[in-house]
């Protein structure tokens, strides 16, 4: 269905080709997962299928890409629109119209399908994706998972034979991700659609893939094969594969179910060596006066635009403690973080950060008490170069000149002074924003969705950095959908739903009992309460 013949892509102004010697075929009706570290050209490869590379992005494509027998060299993206449906990372930037129903019809209108066919397909797609109740809703009012489903629906209505998706679940909470993947699976099974998708969070997708195409490193030739075979050599792998490698299982398990069946003797060994897992122990709960705590919210309520975003939330953060805020998209996680930095004003209750009321404190004083790395770290960066950014951060924080640059060198070795922040990778940009925030040495550090778009290596580096900060006494609060990250880092997990705290306790207790928030290792080794592969590795040593 999709055929790459000796394809290499070189962008203008870049010496090395981004893709080299790509030569494989995706058969009809398969779900193929494209895996690999950041920056190896996954998006470029996906773009080549829809013809956007090179027709839209520029650059030179050597070799030949054919989709359903059409050569992308002679067919522009718009002429492939009836066979390829493409959904990018951000569904909002994909929408042309403003309501769900119009958006579903847009692609068919461009192709000139007869009105009766359009009407029927819109109704079918609404049912297929469970969107019937939302048909008149403006797109901007939908949740992340709903938007992603509409985006998929909007490319499905012309009945493409190939669907190309770039990180369809990155921005979604675990339940919404399941929802989107269930739809994709149904398309593959029932309609015989060929799906090619790239995803960093392999633990969510790997079990559904028929084949995995691995791009091991920038410019390296891809490897296509059965998921278990590819995972045996892959530099990126989900926790279930990590555990399988640790236990020496062959073939490697790809699903929690596979792994559980083989894990009986591992569970026995673990029960023998350690009576209870050494979970990240919380710092000794100090009975210090509450004024000394880095952050405290008492029966906090926030109303925004007629919606009760937070209701009666009480939370105290102790020094050196790491808290993971979890919950659905729109549960109020970001609002709570914003309340701690004074970006939203509470409508009820109080919030204190290091004894001060955030929204009444001047920004200059506030940065010394609390730092927030927003969901889009780029929002924090203004300057043209890393060096200028660091100098500005030192001035803003009234720190000794060079303090921020020293932090950058420590967290992110090998970044040149004159690099433009835009040219950094997602992970590097996040680390730069973190360094900028840390220049003021705030005792409380807040991170909103820090692992979005990060590969496993970048995530591991971030975990190491944050552990170091927590050990140095920084209190850390992170809002995240990434259960594996929470399991690695957090001492405590706070679950939010509809603006209310529905669970608050040690990580092991909270996540173990929840089917959607439990990490893979927990599911495999239940009823023992292990959270991460690292814990198991330490126990077995």
């Amino acid at each position: 269905m999709i055929r790459f013949e000796n394809v290499s892509v070189t962008y203008d102004g870049v010496a090395e080709p981004t893709l080299r010697d790509v030569d494989f075929t995706v058969p009809e009706g398969e779900l193929v997962l494209l895996a690999g570290p950041s920056g190896v050209g996954k998006s470029t490869l996906l773009g080549a299928v829809s013809g956007l590379v090179p027709h839209f992005t520029g650059g030179v494509l050597r070799g030949r890409v054919t989709v359903a027998g059409r050569d992308t060299r002679t067919h522009k993206p718009r002429e492939l629109a009836d066979v390829v449906g493409t959904v990018g990372q951000d569904p909002l930037s994909h929408f042309v119209t403003d309501t769900v129903e119009d958006e579903l019809a847009y692609g068919m209108e461009s192709l000139g399908l007869p009105p009766a066919v359009m009407r029927r397909r819109v109704e079918e797609t609404l049912d297929l994706l469970g969107l019937a109740g939302l048909r008149d809703r403006p797109l901007a009012t939908l949740s992340g998972g709903q938007q992603q489903r509409v985006a998929i629906g909007s490319v499905l209505t012309p009945h493409p034979r190939v669907l190309v998706l770039d990180e369809p679940t990155s921005a979604l909470d675990p339940a919404a991700a399941e929802e989107v993947l269930a739809v994709l699976l149904r398309l593959v099974h029932d309609l015989g659609t060929t799906v090619l998708l790239a995803e960093h969070r392999l633990e969510r997708v790997l079990q559904y893939a028929d084949q995995v195409a691995l791009l091991p490193a920038a410019g390296a030739a891809p490897l296509l094969g059965a998921p278990a075979d590819v995972m045996a050599v892959s530099p990126v792998f989900p926790p279930v594969v990590d555990l399988g490698r640790l236990a020496g299982w062959s073939p490697l398990p790809l699903t929690v179910r596979d792994a559980r069946r083989r894990a009986a003797d591992l569970r026995e060994r673990l029960a023998a060596v350690a009576s209870s897992p050494s979970s990240p122990s919380a710092p000794s709960a100090s009975s210090a006066a509450s004024s000394a705590s880095p952050a405290e919210a008492r029966s906090l309520g926030v109303r925004r635009g007629g919606v009760q975003a937070l209701r009666d939330v009480s939370l105290t953060v102790a020094p050196g403690e790491t808290i993971a805020l979890m919950g659905r998209n729109g549960a109020g996680k970001s609002t709570l973080l914003n309340a701690f930095v004074g970006l939203v004003v509470p409508s009820a209750g109080t919030v204190r950060v290091g004894g001060a009321v955030p929204h009444r404190t001047s920004p200059r004083d506030l940065v010394r008490r609390v730092g927030l790395v927003p969901q889009e770290p780029r929002d924090l960066l203004y300057a043209d170069t890393v060096a200028a950014e660091c100098a500005a951060a030192d001035r803003d924080a009234r720190a000794t000149p060079g303090a921020c640059r020293a932090l950058v060198s420590e967290l992110l070795p090998g970044i040149a002074d004159d690099t433009h922040p835009r040219d950094l990778s997602e992970g590097q940009r996040l680390t730069l924003a973190l360094a900028v925030v840390l220049a003021a040495r705030p005792p409380l550090l807040l991170l909103d969705e820090p692992t979005r778009g990060l590969d496993y290596a970048a995530k591991a580096r971030l975990v190491a950095v944050l552990r170091g900060l927590a050990a140095a006494g920084h209190a850390i609060v992170l809002a995240t959908h990434d259960v594996e990250l929470a399991a690695e880092l957090a001492h405590r997990v706070v679950l939010l739903a509809e603006g209310e705290v529905i669970a608050d306790g040690p990580t092991a207790e909270v996540v173990v009992s929840s089917p959607s928030f439990a990490p893979q290792v927990t599911k495999i080794l239940a009823p023992q309460e292990w959270l991460t592969v690292a814990q198991v590795r330490r126990a077995l040593r």
Partner: protein, 357 residues
């Protein structure tokens, strides 16, 4: 859940014609009672008929804008004085002496009841016009109206729709980036803050447009059908010739000498241009999903608006005194009966907009 679209919405053109008819009627009168009646009628229809979309909430914004226009008009009269000769002095402000080159401009001085009243009538007329445009916005969003454009203008229409959805995104970006300044320890208020986020906001907007352009391209935007060369040439000739004809005809109508050829040339030009547009539509292979139709109810709605405009124009020529009550000497305006009845015709859509269930 009952599906709202099972109740098809009226053609957006009908609502715009209705609202513009009311607006045109408002320009014919300064009688505050008639203007008040127009405002009430339009507000009633909006409350009854408006759909539940973000656009329909723009009505209150237009109301505020209209109020602001009225207030500004009054403030100008108080500060700069009014050309209306009046005898009822309400208050005398200290007059600022101006140099001789500013002759004819006055700052401060006497504020008369007549001047204020005249300004109030005049401002109210403008405010009513604005509220009528707001009503059209609330009842049928401009983007729905653009969808009804002929095929040849479709691509322009999409560009306008995209631009319309862009403004709210841009404002959201400005808010987000100004908030981010606070996180850097910089003041998040004030003009400087706004200027410093300018570049990142523009960068973001540009990136979003590029992403949208890519998405639209991949979804088949701009696919064209093959059109034989003679048709293409005819299209070009008709469109260009028609537009030239329209220009020449308008010129003829406006100059004294061209009274005879003006109208025919204008009409011929318009017909040729329309034919060109229609032929040009063949190039686009697009079809329409659930196009809005001119149902009898839509026609009634549009006709009621046009009727109000026509009746008030007639009334204004027949009885100008009733529609433009004098302010010198001060008199209470009276409600002219049959123009008032004519305004009530605009209530028709409120009663016909729903199918009898």
């Amino acid at each position: 859940m009952a599906d709202r679209r099972s109740q098809p919405q009226l053609h957006p053109g009908a609502w715009w014609l209705w609202a513009l008819g009311l607006g045109a009627a408002a320009t014919r009168t300064t009688n505050p009672l008639l203007l008040g009646l127009l405002l009430t009628v339009s507000a009633y229809v909006v409350t009854v008929c408006r759909p539940d979309t973000p656009w329909s909430r723009s009505y209150s914004a237009f109301l505020k804008l209209a109020l602001a226009v009225l207030v500004v008009r009054l403030v100008f009269v108080v500060v700069l004085g009014s050309p209306i000769p009046g005898t009822h002095v309400l208050v005398t402000l200290p007059e600022v002496p101006l140099p001789h080159w500013a002759q004819g401009i006055r700052l401060g001085g006497a504020v008369t009841a007549e001047g204020l009243l005249f300004a109030l009538y005049d401002g109210l007329r403008l405010a009513t016009l604005l509220v009528c445009v707001g009503a059209a916005n609330a009842l049928a969003s401009p983007s729905r109206l653009l969808k009804a454009l002929p095929g040849a203008l479709y691509e322009t229409g999409v560009a306008v729709v995209v631009a319309l959805t862009f403004a709210p995104n841009l404002i959201a970006d400005v808010h987000r980036l100004r908030a981010a300044r606070r996180l850097r320890g910089r003041p998040d208020r004030g003009l400087r803050g706004l200027l410093q986020v300018g570049l990142p906001v523009l960068e973001g907007a540009l990136e979003r447009s590029v992403a949208l352009a890519a998405a639209m391209d991949a979804r088949g935007y701009g696919r064209t059908a093959d059109v034989p060369a003679p048709v293409r040439r005819t299209t070009a000739v008709l469109t260009l010739g028609g537009l030239l004809g329209v220009c020449a005809g308008t010129y003829g109508l406006l100059t004294a000498a061209g009274g005879t050829y003006g109208l025919p040339v204008l009409l011929a030009g318009a017909v040729a241009a329309l034919a060109g547009l229609r032929l040009g539509g063949r190039r686009s292979a697009r079809t329409r999903y659930r196009p809005d139709r001119w149902t009898p109810r839509a026609c009634l709605t549009a006709a009621s608006g046009v009727a109000v405009a026509a009746l008030l124009i007639m009334a204004a020529t027949a009885d100008p005194a009733a529609l433009n009550p004098g302010v010198v000497p001060l008199t209470a305006p009276a409600l002219p009966l049959w123009p008032a009845a004519a305004v009530l015709v605009a209530l028709l859509p409120a009663f016909v907009h729903k199918e009898p269930s």
